[in-house]
Amino acid sequence: MKPQEDIGSLIKTKLQSAKKASNEATWERIQHSLEERKRKRRNAFYIKLGSAGLLLIIGALFMFNYSDIITNSTTTSQEETHSKIDDQKIIEAEESKSSSLPSQTIKVSTNTDVNNLDASNLQNQEASKGSTTSIINDSIKETIFKTEISKENLHPLNVLKGSSKNAKALDTIVNRNDVPVTQTTQKVYYYYNSKNGQEMSSTDKKVIDSIVEINQKKRDSLKTKN
């Protein structure tokens, strides 16, 4: 009987020393494939880079437009503010023009509440004081009338609407505390009544003098009574 061996082991032994030569032309194919893959990779890189750049540009354009919108809106609000300031300046200029002319404007100072002025009491007090008193009374009435108008029409919102008509009609403007104040460059005379806490002022000295005179007369009359 012939010696038998496992076929697998025999084949393995036989092939261990086997070496077959490959075709060198395979390298050309490998080189070509490698270059093609490199090119593809490069193209993919450029595509990615391009798309990233495009996104960046789009983003930048968007941001630029967005900032433009913000700037425009800011400018608009600034223009509005400027127009408001211009309106106020116009009003002030017109006031100063009107105040440069001789006037009989009586100013009610800021610490005086115009609403507290009791016109009827004043009228009662002054009715008996003759013609001078009636002149004063008229001027006081005028002041109250002007103040009321200024309260109604010269509210900041009304002023901001650019109503120059209101500005012309009145000699007063509204300060930050919504208290009507008359601006004038002329010399102002003040009178303070300690009894009722009312303060009056006028550019016409005669008016103040007459009020003082009336009050003094009143006191004198009291003295005479006593």
Partner: protein, 181 residues
Amino acid sequence: MEKTELIARCKKNDLVAQKLLFLKYKDLVYTTSLKYCRNSAEAEDNVHDVFIVLFETIHKYTNKGSFEGWIKRITIHKAVDKFRQKKTTDLPYQIESDTREVTIDKKDIDIPIDAIFKAIQELPERYRLVFNLYQLDEYSHKEIATMLSISEGTSKSNFHRAKQILKEKILVFSSTKILNQ
């Protein structure tokens, strides 16, 4: 040029070094491919694919294991991948797991290497892979089963059947040779 230097230059995509590496290891890859492929043309294709993978993944090689072993593993896995892609169903369904030894007279196998290669290449796809993996490259049946998505029993059975076919082919070749003499 030393092997480590060659590998280092290949990692930098140096084309000259790549060619030198190819010339150095092409025969090893080709010989391994011949065992796993059906013919020399398919083996050449496998060599091409193996070197492409090798140059693209050479940066993963950390000089720890044998570089030849690493190349051989790539070659085997490439061949297995091709088998998976084909999804061949050329094998009859087998239930029995015959693991009996298939023996042959030592004189009968005294045939040219090309004849042995031819006998292996003519094996059905899966038999060839199982025989090569288990017998020539010393993979376990468990590993083969995982690689080829088959059971361990099927791997053993395929291996036994491959040896039987090889025996028949070698005996035919041997008898023809004797007749020619």
